[in-house]
């Protein structure tokens, strides 16, 4: 993949290969690239891991996926060899993810992994953290999560209408890879919240159920922005359990305004945790009252907070996107994520 290849291009052969991959049911609906022993060796050269080490398991389906297998899936997804350690590390993160291990890939919710890259690796791999961070247009952003999807499909054998039972799925499944805009953030990197040192190359992963934009660019007071976040965070449609994990992909301009008001990232979390929620009456009005729980029943004005606590695990905040307009995304975590960032290797 590096160096100049002077062989003549053969578009007819490329089409035949692409159709072969389709005909075998090996792609996610988009064209994929063929993996060969030669290309796999190029990927394996990018990591110190033993090619036969198991990096992903699916307990219920009794499947094990090795480093070598993940190389095959990453090649097919369109990754460059230098992305391979990030793909492997994404699987380290997923191995620690209760939701992914608890049937997430088969779920009716059809959750999408959000892969977050921190550290100098962002520049080496050209992972976009700025404008259009959720895509499209950047190879690393697009192909690293796609490699996860092809492992789920081909390595675990979880395919739509078979073991995969997504009711509607969601836009962005297998395409959500981002870098944090660390330089544009007033706060410590997200990977520090995940337990690593600033400046470490890190990958964090969580499964998402959706992203919802918060467009708030004419505020006159930072608390207005926080109230706007809280209103989106606490909406009833996504409310299924007692507590939820809900994160923010925060625009650098929103982060700046909050930081200039003297708020740390933790201060923001604590404000949102204290202010996001619904009363028992509001939940009951949509058939989601919590009075059947063991600590119920609750009076109508009882306030149910969205969050269990003010930890980064409950409320992850990642700074990304262009500051050209003060828009952020609220994202819904499927179940819970590990709360940990993983060193790239």
């Amino acid at each position: 993949m590096t160096g100049v290849d002077t062989r003549p291009l053969d578009p007819a052969a490329a089409t035949v290969v692409a159709e072969h991959l389709y005909a075998n049911g090996w792609t996610d609906g988009l064209p994929a690239l063929p993996a060969t022993d030669e290309t796999v060796e190029r990927f394996l050269a990018e990591t110190d891991r033993d090619p036969d080490d198991v990096v992903a398991r699916h307990l219920a389906l009794d499947r094990a996926v090795t480093v070598r297998d993940v190389a095959v899936h990453a090649i097919m997804a369109g990754c460059l060899p230098e992305y391979f350690p990030a793909v492997l590390t994404a699987w380290d993160a997923l191995a620690a993810d209760r939701a992914a291990n608890g049937g997430g890939w088969q779920s009716t919710s059809g959750p999408a992994p959000l892969v977050i890259v921190n550290g100098p690796l962002r520049d080496r791999l050209d992972v976009n953290s700025g404008g259009g961070v959720l895509g499209p247009g950047f190879r690393a952003n697009a192909t690293i999560p796609r490699a996860i999807g092809l492992t789920v499909r081909n390595g675990f054998g979880i395919r739509p209408h078979g073991f995969e039972q997504a009711t509607q799925g969601l836009p962005g499944r297998w395409t959500m890879g981002i870098a944090e805009a660390e330089e544009a953030s007033p706060w410590e990197p997200f990977s520090v919240d995940g337990g690593l040192e600033a400046g470490d190359d890190a990958v964090s992963v969580m499964l998402l159920r959706t992203c919802e934009f918060v467009d708030n660019r004419h505020f006159t007071d930072p608390v207005q922005v926080l109230r706007d976040f809280a209103d989106t965070i606490q909406r009833s449609g996504s409310w299924i359990f007692r507590h939820s994990c809900v994160g923010i992909l925060m625009n650098p301009d929103h982060a700046r305004v909050l930081a200039e008001a003297g708020m740390s990232k933790q201060d923001v979390r604590e404000w949102l945790v204290a202010h996001s929620g619904k009363t028992e009456a509001e939940l009951a009005a949509v058939g989601k009252g919590l009075s059947r729980l063991p600590d119920g029943p609750f009076p109508p004005d009882h306030f149910h907070p969205v969050f269990a606590d003010a930890s980064p695990k409950s409320l992850p905040i990642i700074v990304a996107g262009s500051p050209n307009a003060a828009m952020s995304m609220v994202f819904r975590v499927f179940g819970e994520w590990s709360g940990r960032s993983f060193p790239v290797r």
């Binding site: 290969v17 219920a60 499947r63 996926v65 070598r68 608890g102 779920s107 078979g162 073991f163 039972q165």
Partner: protein
């Protein structure tokens, strides 16, 4: 010289293909049987299994009900729970597989219990026929006779649950005994079921 394109569905860790899974031997009736009710925490699952179990005691002579909860509905039964069920029950009713992961897992649990010598009746909802069947295929028992009931179960009220249980009882008895076995699906005929 063209290189060979690697098949991404074959792991370098080796094949996980299983041989045919044996099924448990059945008795002619449930008289005196200890009936396990393995509910998976899904809404209404425990109540539906309770309704079915009470009918098995009242009308079919079952001796007792052994209620167990599978806390992680997406995952296979742990060896401990499998051993407990094998020791404390003669037959087990499993349910309700009404989601993507728990339907497949319910079928896997049924097949594991059969292998341990315990006849099972596994209840999934019709919406999850594909994933129930996919697990039966994966586990080497493509004719495994899980029971499909109308979806959804989760929002039935108590009276509707009672009706549903009444509809399901004869099929549950057919799965657990050699009595009045209903017509097997086509794939079933390929498999020899121990008497």
């Amino acid at each position: 010289m063209a290189s060979t394109i690697i098949d991404p569905t074959v792991s370098s860790s080796g094949s996980t293909k299983k041989g045919r899974m044996p099924r448990a031997a059945r008795s002619a009736s449930l008289a005196g049987a200890r009936v396990g009710l393995l509910e998976n925490t899904k809404r209404n699952a425990a109540d539906l299994l309770d309704d079915i179990g009470e009918t098995l005691v009242r009308d079919f002579g079952a001796a007792e009900l052994v209620r167990k909860t599978k806390k992680q509905f997406a995952l296979p039964l742990t060896a401990e729970v499998l051993a407990e069920l094998s020791e404390s029950c003669d037959v087990v009713v499993v349910g309700v597989g009404d989601c993507g992961s728990c339907s497949a897992a319910a079928v896997a649990d049924g097949i594991a219990l059969e292998r341990a010598g315990i006849p099972t009746a596994v209840i999934c909802t019709e919406a999850f026929a594909a994933t129930s069947q996919a697990m039966a295929d994966l586990k080497g028992d493509p004719g495994f006779p899980y029971i499909l009931t109308e979806h959804p179960v989760a929002n039935l009220d108590a009276r509707q649950l009672g009706d549903r249980a009444a509809q399901l009882v004869s099929e549950v008895v057919a799965r657990l005994t050699t009595a009045s076995v209903s017509a097997p699906r086509a794939a079933d005929s390929a498999l020899s079921v121990p008497a």
